[in-house]
């Protein structure tokens, strides 16, 4: 098989003012060359195909959120403010029939069905929406929470699905990248089923997706900008500070959040400031800018138990700017969440905002390309990723060890090749933690891979590394590895954020 792959040549992230759904400040677009991203689309298609779910010409369907109904229908919340129920979206071929359940809402960026009603996050509130007369259309719209303010148009809200207790977690974008001009801008709030609002965390800049990992722990996706050197997936730790201090002015309002944290220093490092600002939660999985997307968006846990291939329980996260889906593994080490991200699938038709696994083991994705530069050509699209049944040769996951990492593969490696330490090119770096917009990669180191032990089944390699750097992204270049059938990895890069090194 011929595969052509191109990795972005530049290892530096350029701190340009990139506008994406959740990080806009000025209409002056710094246009970028977007052609040729990972360059793996053709090879990926052999394992995961992308199928269009047709949309009638009269329907503008800019998906902002998804959920499944107990009767097997797909529910879609749209940027235009509709909630659509879809029959036949999972059929082969897709034979969707769209039904409008509710309309007129303000950007439905969170949708969750529970106990006979939708719990909907729209821009101004979390709303419980029900169909009381049973005619298939919503007639009761109950405001559960609206305790946040607006001062600037770019104050998007993103909501989770219901957690096991029925709470919706809402992440509120700052007023601008640098300010919190209205109440709770830059905060995450928990909305209980009976409408109580519980402040969870400060420090949010510009979220674009909220949800749990397979362990049920709540995360949100954050984009590159002030106090965020690169985009990341962050753990919404109750009582935590997510990194951007503009939201500190609302500590007086929620007493249960405790005293206002001390201000982080600018032009520092997250690793240094986390020792000073005890509430600061290290960014769990950092996505190096441009190598791994530019604007993270919605994400979903693979709950398909293998029907989507070898990545059960992992997170799949979309990117708005580049229209790609990436893969994430998370683990808790010394009480801190961290993990790795991997390329997965590119060439979606539009900028992605939301993802949803289906009962048939497919991944539904959707979004729009409006407003910000987006690589995908279509103004909006609904697409479905299907596993072809062929297992790609991929790094399935990476786990931190006291003296290195354990790499698990989807198929056996060539054991001789994988036993050679020169096959593992490892570099580390971090980003400047600062008020300025984004950061290049800094403080590069090249740790020494001293040993590579391959398991008997060829599925696991333990690499012993001298020179692990706490707080750094550890970037793996595994282009030298081969499967037992002599294939290269479908994606040969992986990025592990080592916030904590496990104790021996």
């Amino acid at each position: 098989m011929r595969t052509h792959r191109h990795h972005p040549r530049s290892l530096r992230a350029i701190p340009t003012l990139t506008l994406a759904l959740a990080c806009a400040m000025t209409p002056a677009v710094q246009a970028e060359q977007l052609a040729g991203y990972w360059g793996t689309a053709e090879a990926e298609a052999g394992y995961y195909r992308i199928v269009d779910v047709p949309i009638p010409e009269s329907l503008v369907l800019e998906a902002g959120s998804f959920d499944l109904l107990p009767d097997g229908r797909l529910a879609i919340g749209t940027r235009r403010g509709d909630i659509l129920l879809v029959d036949g979206a999972f059929e082969d071929p897709p034979a969707p029939v769209y039904h409008t359940f509710a309309s007129g809402l303000d950007e439905v960026t969170g949708l969750s069905w529970r106990d006979g009603a939708f719990y909907v996050t729209q821009q101004t509130e979390v709303t419980r929406i029900a169909d009381l007369d049973g005619d298939g259309r919503a007639d009761e719209f109950k405001t559960l929470a609206d305790g946040w303010g607006f001062e600037h148009y770019h104050e998007f809200s993103f909501g989770s699905k219901c957690d096991p207790e029925g709470n919706i977690w809402v992440a509120l974008c700052l007023s601008k990248s640098y300010e919190s001009l209205a109440k709770f801008r830059g905060w995450a709030l928990k909305i209980t089923p009976d409408g109580q609002t519980v402040p969870i965390a400060s420090g949010i800049r510009s979220p674009c997706g909220v949800g749990t990992n397979a362990a049920g722990v709540m995360f949100y996706s954050e984009s590159q900008g002030p106090w965020n050197g690169s985009s990341s997936l962050k753990h919404l730790k109750p009582g935590g500070f997510m990194g951007h201090p503009a939201s500190f002015n609302w500590y007086d309002v929620p007493p249960e959040m405790g005293p206002r944290p001390i201000e982080p220093n600018t032009n520092s490092r997250l690793e240094i400031e986390r020792a000073r600002v005890k509430e600061l939660v290290p960014y769990a999985v950092v996505f190096p800018y441009r190598k791994m997307g530019q604007q993270l968006s919605g994400f979903a846990v693979d709950t398909t138990e293998g029907r989507f291939g070898p990545f059960a329980k992992q997170l799949f996260i979309g990117d708005f700017t580049l229209g790609v889906v990436m893969r994430v593994t998370t683990e808790e080490v010394n009480g801190v969440w961290q993990g790795a991200c991997f390329p997965f699938r590119e060439e979606f038709a539009t900028g992605l905002l939301a993802l949803q696994f289906t009962p048939k083991g497919q991944l539904i994705v959707g979004g729009t390309n409006r407003g910000w530069p987006v690589r995908g050509p279509k103004p909006f699209a609904l697409q479905r990723v299907e596993w072809t049944g062929r297992t790609p040769f991929e790094v399935r996951e990476i786990n931190a060890l006291p003296d290195g990492f354990r790499l698990t593969f989807t198929r056996p490696v060539d054991r001789q090749v994988a036993g050679e330490v020169r096959r593992y090119l490892l570099q580390t770096y971090t980003h400047i933690y600062r008020q300025g917009y984004g950061s290049p990669e800094v403080d590069h180191t090249t740790p020494l891979v001293e040993r590579a032990d391959v398991s008997a089944d060829g599925l696991r390699v333990t690499v012993r590394v001298k020179g692990l750097v706490r707080g750094h992204v550890h970037e793996f270049d595994l282009a030298g590895l081969r499967s037992e059938n002599d294939e290269p990895l479908l994606h040969d890069r992986a990025y592990y954020t080592l916030n904590e090194i496990p104790a021996p």
């Binding site: 098989m1 246009a31 053709e42 101004t124 007639d139 405001t143 609206d146 607006f150 104050e155």
Partner: protein
């Protein structure tokens, strides 16, 4: 092209065989076999049929790969055999009766097939038995045999239309039989609708060689075309029960007959085991595939021309040819020449021209016919060329005929060859100071105030004018900078039929004031601008479609968005009677009222959504954006100043009635309010009835409702007031107080509850005479 033996001089190696003798022998062989003779149509190889000369070594070299000679007779990389379909799932795809018949007599079953007869050495009864065993084996390795189901008549007619437009008839015959077409064979006896549909959806999975390319049919299109192709399918023949013993024997036969030289089963492919092609000696052709005799070898019913051509190629031996020749061979093998012209060869023939159609006749012939491949190696970016060939990437959505995907097999060799041979001189170097400024100029040139590229070309799929030529945002991803410069300078030189005007005739710019009128700098500015692809800002002329959101039928329509003067918590409602309101979920008040159409949501539904929803219609009344309900000491106590979001007000949502008309629900202090708005159409105008129900367990201070604030309020009759064109009627015997507060007049009513409940009914009337 290499020299060849002409048809009029058919002497071949050693002078021993003459074409005439070959024909005689062939005929004799056929007569001797006595089975396939009447039906022995020669194998059809499309790329040879269209050659001006079909007997030379060039034709022979095409035949050698297309008949898969080199699958058994190993040869170098320039003669990679086409091979046959993958058979792992043939039992799920093809009905067993057809398999049996086809294996026993390929050319008789599918005249023109390139599959040779493999069982000709056997006496007829044994041959039939062997074919039956092979068919049983192949059927046994798939779990789900095809099931025949009737096809829908509508699907047949849709499929007919697709079949005759998407590109099938570039190679295959249209419904009206056309000679020189790749045979389809008896599809109705071969496939089920489901199995043909799935084959058409992904032909490369079964035929990785790419000779049947993937037209990228969506599942519905594939099903429709399959329905058309099977339109005459009758009731199914009885399916035979599995015969394990027969299948086991078939499996042996599959191996002994070296079927695996051409066909894969679960990825296994036999290595070439016959005499290598190089060592074949034409003078020993009394036996074997080329002899025309029937024996223990693959029997091809070759035509005399085909035999001559193959002999000619064998005699010349296959040395490394020049790249140009290799390109021509590949274009013939993949039948690219059926659609594309390159250097004057190939292109859509007149008899098939009518099947190449366009959705946009404005674009002329360019909108309809596949582009020429002359110079394509210098025209297309390597990555795009690969996408086009391997994945069937399309850039011409207006053309009904599609570029198919050929897969990543032999066709990819074109990716090395084409750029190596197609060259354009580099355009003159261009200097500029600031790249962003330069790009801005490019954007101006692309817009309607510049050269107006957007008038004909789409921008992110949006039409500006009436024409939808190649998308601007795809340009730099597709074509090379060199070609862009040369083409823009002289479009007609590259595409004689193009409608694109020359913008720099004689080197003179149509925009002499931009960049000093310098052609190369202007072209380069456009190129730099377009290089940003999808992330560019739209050039002038690409405009948003105006949006109108109005009530449809007898139902109201709602839009919760930012409204001017109200902010983010506006809830707009458009009523079918032609009256509209915005309720503020922040101040809990009726904030705006207007007659006519509802709203233009463009400000919130386009771009980032950073604007406001704009009420349509010219007249509107804006009330104070402040709470309507307050607890006061006395009815004339100054109204509490509104500052930001009031603390003791809580919006609780709304219910919609059957016609989607809202009843808002909110809490003001200890009072719960239900606030229903219902439209009415009267003979003299439109009206909105508002029924406000207050409930409070706590009888505290005086509760006052402020009906209106305005610079002028004119009493008309008892409890009837005019506010501008609007008339407000307060029902019942409610005492209305009009007071002046600053420059404004206010109408206030006390909320008088009985047993903790009060109801206030208001009507807002807008006379028809008012615009």
């Amino acid at each position: 092209m290499t020299s060849d033996t002409s048809a009029s001089d058919p002497i071949i190696a050693g002078g021993k065989w003459r074409a005439r003798s070959v024909s005689v022998l062939l005929l004799a062989g056929l007569l001797m076999s006595g089975v396939t003779a009447p039906a022995a149509v020669p194998p059809f190889v499309a790329g040879v049929e269209t050659l001006p000369e079909r007997t030379n070594s060039f034709a022979g070299r095409v035949l050698i790969t297309e008949l898969s000679c080199t699958a058994c007779h190993g040869a170098g990389a320039s003669l990679v055999p086409r091979r046959g379909p993958d058979l792992s799932q043939v039992g799920a795809r093809v009905r067993p009766e057809h398999l049996h018949r086809f294996i026993a007599d390929p050319a008789g079953t599918k005249p023109g097939t390139t599959m040779p007869a493999l069982l000709e050495h056997l006496p007829a009864p044994d041959r039939d038995q062997a074919a039956r065993a092979l068919a049983a084996y192949l059927s046994s390795i798939a779990t789900n045999p095809p099931v025949i189901e009737p096809v829908l008549v509508e699907a047949v007619s849709r499929g007919r239309k697709l079949y005759h437009s998407v590109g099938c008839v570039a190679c295959h015959s249209p419904e009206k039989e056309l000679a020189g077409s790749v045979p389809l064979g008896p599809l109705a006896e071969k496939y089920s609708h489901a199995s043909l549909t799935s084959f058409l959806r992904d032909p490369l999975a079964v035929r990785p060689a790419g000779r049947m390319p993937d037209l990228k049919l969506d599942p519905h299109e594939a099903a429709d075309i399959a329905a058309y192709l099977l339109r005459e399918q009758n009731a199914p023949a009885p399916t035979t029960a599995p015969q394990p013993d027969l299948a086991a024997r078939g499996r042996e036969l599959f191996a002994t007959h070296r079927c695996g030289s051409c066909h894969t089963v679960d990825g296994l492919l036999a290595k070439p085991s016959s005499t290598p092609l190089d060592a074949l000696r034409a003078d020993r052709a009394e036996e074997g595939c080329l002899s025309g005799r029937h024996g223990d070898w693959p029997v091809y019913p070759l035509s005399a021309d085909q035999r001559t051509a193959i002999h000619s190629a064998l005699r010349e031996r296959q040395g490394p040819s020049d790249i140009g020749e290799e390109i021509r061979l590949t274009l013939a093998r993949f039948n690219c020449v059926a659609c594309h012209d390159r250097d004057g060869h190939g292109g859509v023939p007149e008899v098939r021209d009518e099947y190449f159609t366009t959705r946009d006749p404005n674009l002329g012939e360019q909108g309809r016919l596949p582009p020429a491949l002359t110079g394509v190696g210098a025209r297309l970016q390597p990555a795009w060329l690969r996408k086009a060939l391997v994945q069937g990437a399309r850039s011409r959505p207006y053309s009904d005929t599609r570029m198919p995907a050929f897969g990543d097999g032999e066709v990819t060799r074109l990716l090395e060859w084409l750029p190596a041979i197609d060259r354009l001189p580099a355009p003159p170097p261009v200097t500029f100071e600031n790249e962003n400024d330069f790009k801005r100029i490019g954007r101006e040139l692309a817009g309607t105030d510049g050269l107006g590229c957007v008038v004909c070309h789409t921008y992110k799929d949006q039409l500006t004018g009436a024409m939808g030529a190649l998308d601007l945002t795809l340009m730099a991803q597709r074509v090379t900078r060199d070609w862009f410069h040369h083409y823009l300078a002289e479009p007609q030189r590259f595409s004689p039929s193009t409608l694109m005007p020359a913008f720099w005739p004689g080197g003179e710019s149509a925009k002499p004031d931009v960049l000093g009128g310098d052609r190369d700098r202007q072209i380069e500015a456009l190129w730099r601008y377009l290089s940003d692809g999808y992330s560019t800002d739209a050039p002038k002329g690409v405009h948003r479609e105006p949006l109108r959101l109005v009530a449809s039928g007898d139902e109201a329509v709602m839009l919760r968005r930012s409204y001017p003067g109200i902010g983010k918590r506006g809830i707009g409602v458009g009523y079918p009677s032609g009256i509209n309101l915005v309720f503020s979920a922040e101040q809990l008040c009726l904030a705006m009222l207007w007659p006519g159409e509802f709203a233009d949501p463009a400000g919130v539904w386009t771009s980032q959504g950073h604007g406001t929803a704009r009420p349509l219609g010219r007249a509107r009344i804006e009330f104070a954006h402040a709470p309507e309900l307050a607890q006061l000491e006395r009815i004339e106590t100054p109204w509490p100043a509104a500052e930001g979001r009031p603390q003791d007000l809580h919006f609780e949502g709304y219910r919609l009635d059957r016609l989607r008309r809202p009843t808002f629900r909110y809490q003001v202090g200890k009072t719960t309010v239900e606030d229903a708005f219902v439209d009415q159409m009267n003979s003299d105008g439109v009206a909105l009835s508002r029924t406000i129900t207050f409930r409070s367990a706590d009888a505290g201070d005086l509760l006052v409702f402020r009906v209106a604030t305005a610079t002028a309020i004119e009493p008309v009759a008892a409890n009837r007031f005019k506010v501008g064109p609007l008339e407000i009627v307060i029902a019942g015997d409610t005492v209305v107080t009009q007071i002046k507060a600053g420059d404004l007049y206010e109408l206030r009513v006390p909320v008088q509850s009985v047993n903790g409940k009060a109801v206030l009914a208001l009507e807002y009337r807008w006379p028809l005479s008012t615009p």
